[in-house]
Amino acid sequence: MKVEEVKVCILIIEGTNCEEETSQAFRRSGASPEIVHLKQLLGQDTRPEETRKLGDYQILVIPGGFSSGDYVRAGAILAARIKSRMEGALVEFIEEGKPVLGICNGFQILVELGVLPGIQSTMSRYPTASLGWNDSGRFECRPTLLENWNKGKCIFTSMLERGQIIQAPTAHAEGKFMLPKHREKELLDTLKDNDQIVFRYVDAEGQIAGYPWNPNGSLFSIAGICNSEGNVFGMMPHPERTYFGFQQADWTRNVPDNGDGKAVFESVLDYVAKKF
């Protein structure tokens, strides 16, 4: 299909942010994004003409923010609402090979939903990883450098070279990627073997480094992972906030034509246009 026919569902509920930036990124890359409230997908409190079906879209994006006020845990409430009312539709969407992107709070939601890390099944009943409190104990809002660590499985980074470093800002309090302590090594090895690790935090020399380069103390400096099929991807930093060259932290010195984050959007659109 043509890129302009690719329909992108940008899912919102109360407390979502960055949906406009995300929508703008897809629009500028030529696709047809639509900001959709969860209730429109559930057909709840909506007029018939406002009702939408997840299956009518080719890409699902859960943007950043503080959905449902981060009550219980960041992402837990929206994950529970999705799981209770549209688990089947989402599993079907993922198993058809359609891409799902979670940015920041979206990543937290995908982890709480059990679709990431998604090692053994499309969606686990309980969460199998966690994005916990930053080691610093506070909200970290800063530019971060991310190395593409993926060998080619993740469909969201196909336009990046392995080892390429991109800029994308982080803005979160709960972004420390964690696996269950007693199985940490085994599961991390599985993620590596499956090529599920996508972005790692690095310093200006491209080396793995501590705080503040790794803003949260994430295991193995993980900033983003994909599921074992490569079509569900979550990352804590915001690629939509470096879509344009002038959004780069060093734009006054370097003035690039495009922002680094653009590659994420162009990669997934390229995949969808070829596959569907």
Binding site: W133, D135, G137, K176
Partner: protein, 80 residues
């Protein structure tokens, strides 16, 4: 009908900024003999279920599916 108290704790070793910040504030207020503070969450849940064993099973499922993340949390269930 039973009333249950579900307490959610962070597992040992998981960062607890709410607890450590509270400890800091307590020390500032002069409570210098306070040595550690851990935050926990308490949910009070009314359940239409007479059988306590069954109720416990339901509450455990609530913990696993929403109230706790088994990766970082432990939980305790008590009945009134």
């Amino acid at each position: 009908m039973v009333k249950a108290f579900v307490e959610i704790h962070l597992k040992k070793g998981v960062a607890d900024p709410e607890g450590s910040n509270t400890l800091k504030a307590l020390k500032l207020l002069g409570f210098e003999n306070a040595t550690d503070v851990k935050s926990a969450k308490l949910f009070e849940i009314d359940l239409e279920e007479e059988d306590k064993a069954k109720a416990k099973g339901i509450l455990e499922e609530m913990c696993n599916r929403l109230l706790a993340n088994p990766v970082i949390h432990d939980y305790q269930i008590r009945f009134e």
